[in-house]
């Protein structure tokens, strides 16, 4: 029973504190799932974000299902997902009600304008821990542990995304293919 309660409240916090959609949930999921409860390793978490990116559906819901099912099967998946959408159901309904009544709220806009830069910084932080896994694998951070192939793929993909604004899913698929071929080639040389 405790595991369901933990799953519920853990994803309740993810749902409650991720403002701004999409990647905003990522640092929260990392702090709950990797750091607080150690339900996933950082490597598994990175796989999870990769899978979430390649499939339809919000990152928060995808993660809740993935973590829930691994910890406590289908009921776990449903519990975690419910926890993650529950705050939205209440807050959005209230906001909609207030909005229809008073139209604009300057406080809300000011809070948002201060939350947005904080959320960008937090996403950058979560991105750095994922980059750490990419560049150093699960090894210690040191120059001799740099995984050259993955680092090169990251740099090339980043430049391609920035310069040509290609579809992220297409870029990630190419990265997967590049990772397979480059590593196989390196092994056979």
């Amino acid at each position: 029973m405790t595991v369901y309660i933990q799953l519920f409240f853990s994803f309740l916090q993810v749902g409650l504190f991720s403002v701004g959609g999409g990647y905003a949930a990522m640092p929260l999921i990392q702090s709950q799932v990797v750091e607080k409860y150690a339900w996933l390793t950082m490597n598994e978490f990175t796989d999870l974000i990769t899978i979430a990116e390649m499939t339809p559906g919000p990152i928060a819901v995808n993660s809740a299902t993935f973590v829930g099912i691994r910890i406590a099967g289908i009921p776990g998946a449903l519990t975690a997902t419910f926890g993650c959408i529950f705050p939205s159901c209440i807050i959005v309904s209230l906001l909609a009600f207030v909005y229809y009544k008073y139209k604009k709220l300057s406080v809300l806009q000011s809070v948002l304008s201060s939350l947005r830069p904080a959320v960008v910084a937090l996403i950058a932080g979560a991105g750095l821990s994922i980059l750490n896994i990419v560049v150093f694998g699960s090894n210690a951070v040191s120059f001799s542990n740099i995984e050259i192939i993955e680092t090169v793929i990251f740099v090339v993909a980043f430049i391609v995304l920035r310069k040509f604004k290609l579809n992220p899913i297409l870029v990630m698929s190419c990265c997967g293919a590049a990772g397979l071929f480059a590593n196989l080639l390196a092994e056979n040389l």
Binding site: G15, F17, M54, V61, P87, P117, A118
Partner: protein
């Protein structure tokens, strides 16, 4: 003026439409249509909240005429401003508008079923999958790709914050980054602190405007 009147007309028409459907015998069919539409949209949209909102607009505004265009813009703003996934938030708002409380439940259920099913299936295979040598090599390459995607998003979002040219926002961004990456402060504290700062800033601005 004119467009305002139009808007009012539109809104009236739509609330009449909705009243008709809610009070009439068609409520069941509205819920079914709402469920199938949100299910369909959620199953086929890759790429996050903003994409899904565009799809919702084309279905609910252009095709079903349940919501006006200007209302959809407002709903999008609320969905973005609220905590939680944008897709889920938008479904909650559209559901309320189309068929009240049960509409909300129906739309949310339709939106979460596809990701639950897809991820459940993937997670069943994940263990076997990830221990396969070739799959894990592909995954490693894709991890590098996802890191690039995240930093691309961070650059775009960061640039839009810098473009606002508000010293306050830039300081909040730098402070949040330092707190999170260097001092390992809990994410929730950082978000709460930013929200409180937003309220203080709003109060200070209001005071300054008054004294002027």
């Amino acid at each position: 003026m004119n467009s305002d009147e139009n808007k009012k007309d539109d809104k009236q028409k739509i609330s009449e439409n909705i009243e008709k459907t809610v009070s009439g015998e068609k409520k069941g069919s509205v819920l079914l249509k709402l469920f199938l539409t949100t299910l369909y949209i959620s199953a086929f949209t890759f790429g996050g909240g903003f994409v899904i909102v565009t799809f919702m607009k084309s279905r609910f505004v252009d095709k079903l005429h349940w919501i006006t265009e200007s209302e959809m813009l407002d709903l999008t703003a609320i969905a973005q401003a609220s905590p939680g996934a944008i897709a889920v938030n938008a479904a909650i708002l559209v559901g309320w508008r189309a068929a009240g409380f049960f509409g909300m439940i129906t739309a949310v259920t339709g939106t979460v079923i596809p990701p639950i099913v897809i991820i459940s299936v993937i997670s069943l295979f994940y263990k076997a999958f990830a221990s396969n040598k070739y799959v894990s090599l592909v995954l490693k390459g894709m991890q590098a790709g996802v890191a690039a995607v995240i930093f691309d998003v961070v650059c775009s979002l960061g640039a839009s914050v810098v473009k606002e040219k508000s010293a306050f926002q830039i300081i909040v961004m730098i402070a949040a980054f330092i707190a999170s990456v260097i001092f390992d402060v809990n994410v929730i504290f950082i978000i709460l602190a930013a929200a409180v700062l937003g309220v203080i800033y709003w109060a200070a601005e209001k005071r300054r405007a008054k004294s002027r």
